[in-house]
């Protein structure tokens, strides 16, 4: 049991209030990852109905707009999100069965064909030769062929761990360029639409995309995908959700190398990433920036969270947004403390 409340009071207004068609960008760096904040978004959106009898009557539950969430994760598996959410007291598996939460798996089969299809084509023995020298003649190959085929039958318990995640949609990147992106977009949109169709009209649909910049980095202009295409891709998804939360890496090599006055080589991966990150920040209503302490590591501070208005902030009076810079600390048990500088 975390001793802290799962949602720190300082963060609650930011987590639970996303106006229509707003974009929130969470930027992270290598030493200050964004997973904990995504989990807090999940908790803020899903916990009202999940355990309404447990949660205290906070101001978030007055509106009683229950939410549905679609989480697209390109870097982390379902198991990670499930176990980490459980530490917050959020049962994602149950919520998924209730169709209130949908996980879209962008990790396991994004660039690789599914294990069952590939296993028949794996050329075992073509290149595996044990340490024995002079053994890479083709003679062992026919001997291994039936062995590999036979092993498929008894390897049923040896399958990758996917029984639990098998009913989540897996994204595939096939081919190149915009057609490949469109296929992924279509998969996500079909999930979004299905969620929307089954929800009431007062239910808001929140789309969270975790590290979509991976898709750009791992493809790049060599495969016909640049920052413009990615930005359009995000735009296309945004139209199908009430609000969108994105996480993106903002490490200094990825952002600052793109400037022309930096000596050294600028590679497409840096220029495209910077263009995407800056473009998204300009479109965002809120930018949550995570970084490490500039003054070095501290025992009781994990990093700095800066909340600022993005370029898409249009001065609406109804939803106020205070710009803030806070420190946060993730405890061993998963509890979170958020506090201002100089406070404890």
């Amino acid at each position: 049991m975390p001793s802290q409340p799962p949602l720190p009071p300082l963060l609650t207004p930011y987590l639970s209030d996303q106006p229509e068609s707003s974009l929130t960008v969470i930027s992270s760096v290598l030493g200050a990852t964004s997973n904990w904040l995504v989990l807090r978004y999940l908790h803020a959106s899903l916990s009202n109905t999940a355990n309404s009898n447990i949660s205290p009557e906070s101001d978030g539950s007055i509106g009683s707009t229950s939410r549905r969430v679609v989480l697209v994760s390109f870097m982390r598996s379902w198991d990670f999100w499930k176990t980490e959410a459980k530490r917050l007291g959020l049962d994602l598996a149950r919520l998924r069965d209730k169709r209130q939460f949908v996980f879209v798996d962008g990790l396991s089969e994004l660039f690789t064909p599914p294990a069952s299809a590939s296993s028949s084509t794996v050329p075992i023995g073509s290149a595996t030769h044990a340490t024995l020298p002079l053994r890479n003649r083709p003679t062992p190959v026919p001997g291994r062929g039936p062995l590999a085929a036979g092993s498929l039958d008894r390897s049923a318990p040896n399958r990758p761990v996917q029984g639990d995640a098998s009913n989540s949609v897996k994204l595939h990147f096939r081919g190149r360029g915009i057609t490949a992106l469109d296929a992924i977009e279509k998969d996500i949109i079909s999930e979004l639409d299905r969620q929307r169709a089954s929800s009431d009209e007062n239910e808001e649909l929140l789309l969270i995309i975790d590290q979509l910049d991976l898709l750009l980095a791992a493809t790049g202009p060599g495969l016909g995908i640049g920052a413009t295409e990615m930005a359009d891709w995000v735009m296309g998804l945004q139209q199908h959700a009430h609000a969108t939360v994105l996480t993106i890496a903002a490490d200094s090599p990825l952002i600052h190398n793109a400037a022309t006055n930096v000596h050294g080589d600028r590679t497409p991966i840096e220029t495209e990433h910077a263009a995407l990150a800056l473009g998204l920040a300009h479109r965002a209503r809120t930018v949550m920036q995570l970084r490490m302490l500039e003054t070095g590591a501290a025992r009781d501070v994990s990093g700095v969270l800066r909340i600022s208005r993005g370029g898409g902030w249009n001065g609406e009076a109804k939803h106020s947004l205070d710009e803030k810079e806070l420190l946060y600390y993730i405890q061993r048990d998963g509890g979170l403390r958020v506090f201002g500088r100089g406070e404890s």
Partner: protein
């Protein structure tokens, strides 16, 4: 929790069967795997005890995680760590997959000289005090092994201990870099060559790894070893295209998450060829679970270091070690570990790779410089007083 039960079951003669039956369920049958003291997830040893201790309180590398060792300069300290890692896997009879290097690499693994705790005991005989707090777990494990050797008659207990040889319960072993490993499991290593192809050079590697994981029995533990990734003498130029190498890392991550309890990987990369300030390396770091950077001192530094770096019994440090990212900890948000942000120094000697907190030595030979500087630049204390 499980640890206490095990201790009770082995040391006391009474009520053994009950204790054994209750403990055998949670304990992994595979040798070389033990639950993390932090959160109980299975971990395996990297072959270097001090590196194990660095990994965010898990006292080992959690299963299903990738660790990236980066090295500056032309030295091969990272290669030594990688050999320890592979040798530990051989001794624990895990399946090793070595990518990209010829089979001679497997013959140069360091020789086994015993368990890590036996070496530690020998050392701590010299300075026997409670300074070894960080290794208390090893001490207890040593007792545990002795207990098995002393009372070995009940067969159920032997199965619980994992086998008959006394080396089995050991989590981590000590290796000697000047000797060569002779072990039956060494022929069990598989070497995955880089086959030239017009497509991604990593596709064949992934297929191979996936096939090996799929076709091996479910209790086999695998280690993936990738020496000097992207080194141009091993890898074709197209390998460093982001769409190839980053897709490979992503697929490797997917593979690890599909078999979360059966694989670990250690990868080294030369930073002099691929600096950390490039976006490509940063993405590789983001895709790995642990990132450790080695910054060896220039060779002239060891003459400086001998003047006062450490006491006479300890070797001078050979370089700095930086932890940029630790498995599990940073995935959760990071920052709460006492090891993060410390300055670490490493020393590679014949028998161990040791990581210690780095402390600047008192500048011994610098007194003349201070004296010379005092009359000119620095005002004396009396001048400052009113």
């Amino acid at each position: 929790m499980s640890f206490r039960k095990r201790n009770v079951g082995l040391s006391t003669g009474a009520d053994r069967s009950a204790a054994v039956s209750s403990q055998s369920a949670p304990i992994e049958p595979s040798p070389g795997i033990r639950p993390s003291p932090d959160d109980g997830r299975p971990t395996t040893s990297t072959g270097a005890p001090s590196l194990d201790n660095l990994l965010a309180g898990h006292a080992g590398l959690p299963m299903g995680k990738t660790i990236l060792i980066e090295e500056n300069g032309t030295t091969d300290f990272a290669g030594a760590l990688l050999r320890y890692y592979a040798a530990e896997g051989v001794v624990q009879e895990q399946k090793i997959h070595v990518v990209g290097v010829p089979e001679q690499w497997g013959r140069s693994l360091p020789g086994l000289i015993g368990t890590a705790e036996s070496l530690e005991e020998k050392r701590s005989d010299r300075r026997k005090d409670e300074k070894m707090k960080i290794a208390w777990r090893y001490e207890r494990l040593g007792e545990f092994g002795a207990g098995v050797a002393g009372s070995r008659d009940p067969p159920s207990q032997i199965t619980a201990a994992g086998g008959e040889s006394e080396a089995k319960p050991a989590f981590c072993h000590a290796f000697d870099l000047t000797k060569r490993l002779t072990h039956a499991g060494i022929s069990n290593m598989s070497f995955i060559p880089l086959v030239p192809s017009k497509d991604s050079p990593f596709a064949a590697i992934l297929n191979e790894l996936r096939g090996a994981l799929l076709s091996s029995p479910a209790n086999t533990i695998h280690r993936i070893v990738m020496p000097t990734l992207l080194n141009p003498t091993l890898y074709p130029p197209s390998a460093s295209q982001p769409e190839h190498v980053l897709q490979f890392f992503h697929s490797l991550k997917a593979l690890m998450s599909a078999y979360p309890t059966r694989v670990t990987a250690m990868i080294t990369i030369p930073l002099s060829l691929f600096p950390r300030s490039s976006g490509l390396i940063r993405w590789i770091e983001l895709l790995c679970d642990g990132v450790i950077e080695l910054c060896p001192f220039p060779h002239s530094a060891d003459t400086v270091a001998t003047s006062g770096a450490a006491t006479s019994v300890e070797e001078p440090p050979q370089g700095m070690l930086k932890t940029h990212k630790l498995p599990v900890l940073h995935e959760r948000g990071g920052g709460s570990d006492q090891n993060v942000g410390q300055d670490w120094a490493f020393t590679l000697s014949r028998r161990r790779f040791e990581i210690k907190p780095f402390s600047l030595p008192p500048a011994e030979g610098d007194t003349e410089a201070q004296d010379a500087a005092a009359p000119g630049g620095m005002p004396k204390k009396s001048d400052l007083e009113f």
